[in-house]
Amino acid sequence: MQNVVFGIVTGSILAVATLGFALVRQTENFLNIAHAQMMALGAFVGVVLVDTYGMNIFLAGAITVIGLGALGVVLSAVFFQPVRHQGGTVLLFTSIGLALMMYAAILALFGTQARFYPDVSGGLHRFAGIGIATNELVIIGLAFGSIAALQIFLNSTGLGRAIRAVASNDDLARVRGVPVRTVSNTIWFISSAFGAMAGVMLGVLGAVNTEIGWHNILIVLAAAVLGGLRSITGVILAGLLLGIMMDVSALFIPTAYRPVVAFGVLVAVLILRPEGILSVQRRKDAVVA
């Protein structure tokens, strides 16, 4: 049971990260490999603000999330906007290039030494024999709070509805006069901010090292694919499921296998459920060609 709780914490963080990733995938139509480097950057910026400048963790977190959200908007304008017309594959490879550059920047700025947030666990609570630290409760709360906020934003504001229009049908949205530029900037801000937030949360729970990005991109991809990339609920469930599976599996098999479990689940889903993912679409492609 204890591991299920760990899994829920991991899963909430994963859901936040994956939601940011899926948002870009749905609206800009490519897999943004650089997303996980935004998580790593978030973890580092947060730790520097807290550890080096002695900032309060919540203030540091807020600054990190807003700052990196803005950075995401700038990066999208510099890197992705100019090659947008070349299609998804060029965008995907551009994102790999950007991921490498961000990784290099992290190495150069923060060095290869692992860093740690000061202990902010805030004591252990016990419910029926299951322990959960205050910071874990706060993380779960913040994760679901921001997901709910995003949900409300997408459903009840004009801009949110425009984003959903773009996500469901880009061309139509363009024709109907949706402010594409504003929508795009908003998406990049939200996506990067969510990535950075997940990064700070990961950092608070563990060590901050330069490899965070590469380690997490696959887990994010796995959650995104599991969740079907489309529905917010799907992504949340996939994130939680994957988080719980990774942490619960630690009871039966060595913890070293933890990432293998995530990738194994991903591969199994892709291979066992190809019907849902591709078959109808592929037939359509074949006949149209």
Binding site: F93, L98, L218, A286
Partner: protein, 329 residues
């Protein structure tokens, strides 16, 4: 700066990356299979070779201590087998999902290497890998031998992949990449061909793995992080995806460029910057090439001479946007 041994090393590494990029081009450039699992195949080939040839005294659970000349072809075949195991299920997926699956398989392989420490020594790695002819040539001169081996390997790779590219097999492969439905309607067994191509790429990468090990000298799992896959891809994209010489040219440009920048003298206190230079340059080059020359240095068009003979009809045309990256199936 003028140390010749340094440049011998750079050229050796470039030749190794060139071999990998040319192998990748067969499956991705012509086959249209966007494989992000190069690192996994390279790991499979490398560990197969290392385990088969390892010194029994290292205490690994399985150490037959085979001769390197036996282990080399066996590693190539084993990697082909691994490629088949990955490709058979993964090739049923559409491109984006195929890409994720290959990336995931590569990570699974790497994690398995870490976990199965009984066989692989896990994160400890294996030092002092035996190299061919090192009993005859020793010391610094051996670097020239190594360069020779890498260049010969790259040359063989060039000839083999070129033959594949210009053969009827390569032609059908490109046809199926351009339009799967039409290929099927002509009776082409597209999926079977793709699996064969994937296995071929595995064999070629597995055959390159020992050369990589001779250069690296010590093996450990972190060599096979996704970074190496991205470097090989960058080399191929720079050189020109789908062109016969692309991988060769791209790898030399990329490696010589990144290694030469490493020569800039940096104050030891800025060691972080030195570590960061390589990924930064690889990323920057990838971004710039995609933006300003998406066809790469050599385009696929130049590789197959398409359109050149049709007077006036295509001269000077550039490929339409979107087709640049080997237009999808």
């Amino acid at each position: 700066m003028t140390n010749p041994i340094f440049w011998v090393g750079v050229l050796t590494l470039a030749a190794i990356y060139a071999s990998l990029a040319m192998a990748l081009n067969v499956e991705s450039g012509w086959g249209g299979m966007w494989d992000l699992g190069i690192a996994g195949l390279l790991a499979a080939g490398s560990y197969c070779y290392v385990i088969l040839t390892a010194d029994p005294d290292l205490g690994m659970r399985f150490a037959p201590g085979l001769s390197m000349w036996v282990a080399w072809p066996l590693s190539a075949l084993f990697t082909g087998l691994v490629a088949f195991a990955i490709g058979a299920p993964a090739l049923r997926l559409r491109r984006e999902y195929f890409l994720i699956t290959t990336l995931a398989f590569a990570e699974i392989i790497r994690q398995l290497v870490v976990i199965q420490a009984d066989f692989t020594r896990g994160t400890l790695g294996i030092p002092n890998i035996n190299r061919p002819f090192d009993s005859f040539v020793t010391g610094r001169d051996y670097n020239y031998v190594l360069l020779g081996i890498a260049v010969v390997a790259a040359a063989v790779m060039y000839l083999v992949t070129r033959q594949v590219g210009i053969s009827p097999f390569g032609r059908t492969l490109r046809a199926a990449r351009d339009n799967e439905a039409v290929a099927l309607a002509l009776g082409k067994r597209v999926n079977r061909m793709r699996i064969k191509t994937f296995i071929l790429a595995g064999v070629l990468i597995g055959a390159t793995a020992p050369v990589y090990l001779f250069y690296i000298r010590a093996i450990s799992p972190q060599l096979f992080a996704p970074g190496i896959t991205f470097t090989v891809w960058t080399a191929l994209v720079i050189g020109g995806l789908g062109s016969i010489r692309g991988g060769l040219a791209g790898a030399f440009v990329l490696i010589v460029f990144t290694e030469a920048v490493g020569l800039i003298e940096v104050d030891p206190s800025h060691i972080n910057i030195l570590v960061a230079i390589e990924p930064f340059l690889v990323g920057l080059l990838l971004v710039l090439v995609l933006r300003f020359r998406p066809d790469g240095l050599f385009s696929e068009r130049s590789a197959f001479g398409a359109g050149n003979r049709a007077a006036g009809r295509s001269a000077g045309d550039s490929r339409p946007a979107g087709a640049a990256q080997g237009s999808g199936g």
